[in-house]
Symmetry: C2
DNA sequence: GGCGAACCGTACCGTACGGTACGCAATTTC
DNA sequence: GAAATTGCGTACCGTACGGTACGGTTCGCC
């Protein structure tokens, strides 16, 4: 077993290349046909491995699902915004970039499939997958946003008491109900096209609400 | 078969009381244990009816699921806001009531369970349940909101080009990512407590964005 | 060159579910 | 009061899945 510390595509905690490739194929199956299509036999066939290996590596089916979420989350690295001096224009630019990135992430095929998977499991087993997805996904991108907002406040461009709350407002302005509609099956492409232009308007609105007079 | 035109609890299209009671029990099972707990045998046992009757009434399992959504949607009647003359204060009051109602609906146990169900099925079968839920649920409450917004515009209190877009902004300000977090399994009560106070702030923000100077 | 670990392919087992069929009781209808 | 409809309870069937076991093969290691 060759443990790859630093695999080609963000291998996370002690996964071999082979195991990463298997998870990749499993994610493909999930995107194609939803949870129902994600059978252990199906994964083994698609990945050219044996079921026995799957159980050896991931324990059971739930372990496989958790590993898929962790693996995918490990691929998304939050870009650190250069914390240089912020001007009003550069803050607006950074916020707009963030808005577009957020829309891109949320409307991604794999992201949608994993969210559907976690939501489907939320009723039983204490929502283990949901918490995992939340911590590895939302928290990560939320940190990037709050860091940006804090920088804006430090530069005297925006004002708020609670960064989390301000981020919640920004998120709502950008996303509205787009995410839920996509999760319910509305066409990804169409919705993304509808919401992308609103990214700038959302930033405008946010700055109207939280911006300080110059 | 006694067809009840006007059952006690909003019987929709040609459902007998018995069938309504069965759907009620089925919804209970869904809330308790998620989709996995919603087996045909389980529903029959819980509702004291036979599987054969289930198939006679609803065709197959999917028909049962669709009937559950339609039945639940039929129970939610949108309250027509009295379209009297709006003042700035009454518009704000109506918007706040709407915000609280929206939070109540979205955080309802049955609503969450049905949304989870529809999202779980969204990958296959053309998202039939998702569309059903969308049309019977979101559209309904959206109409109420846009009507209120239009009334506010007519009264010269708020200004916007597209009522749908304005509603999207209002929705995002109120809900943010609360709905998704609840769908992922975060505690309903805690999240509702967290978001309820924000209803008024959301309305404030909305009026800041769309209100006209008096 | 032989040993052992990892692993693939396949077969197998128990279970649980969707859907159907049947026997019998209750209620309605003529 | 008999015939028919309705529907409950149960048993049954085929299938598909999660999980396990086993034989054969490759590959690294001493």
């Amino acid at each position: 077993m060759q443990v790859v510390e630093q695999g080609g595509e963000g291998a996370a905690a002690g996964l071999t290349e082979r195991q990463g490739a298997v998870l990749e194929r499993a994610l493909g199956l999930l995107v194609e046909g939803g949870e129902k299509a994600l059978t252990t036999a199906g994964v083994a066939r698609a990945a050219n491995c044996s079921k026995e290996s799957l159980y050896k590596w991931f324990g059971d089916r739930d372990g496989l699902l958790s590993a898929m979420i962790a693996y995918q989350a490990g691929k998304v690295r939050t870009v650190e915004a250069g914390a240089g001096a912020l001007s009003a224009a550069s803050l607006r630019r950074h916020l707009t970039v963030f808005a577009r990135d957020l829309i891109d992430v949320l409307s991604g095929e794999v992201s949608l499939a994993l969210n559907r998977l976690a939501i489907g499991q939320a009723s039983r087993e204490g929502a283990k997958l949901g918490r995992l997805l939340q911590e590895r996904g939302r928290r990560q991108i939320g940190r990037r946003a709050t860091a940006l907002l804090e920088a804006g406040r430090k530069a005297g461009l925006i004002a708020f008491d609670d960064a989390e709350e301000a981020y919640g407002t920004l998120y709502g302005l950008i996303v509205s109900d787009m995410h839920l509609r996509m999760l319910l099956g509305e066409d990804r492409g169409a919705l993304k096209k509808e919401f992308s232009p609103r990214a700038e308007k959302a930033v405008d609105a946010f700055l109207t609400l939280y911006g300080v007079e110059s």
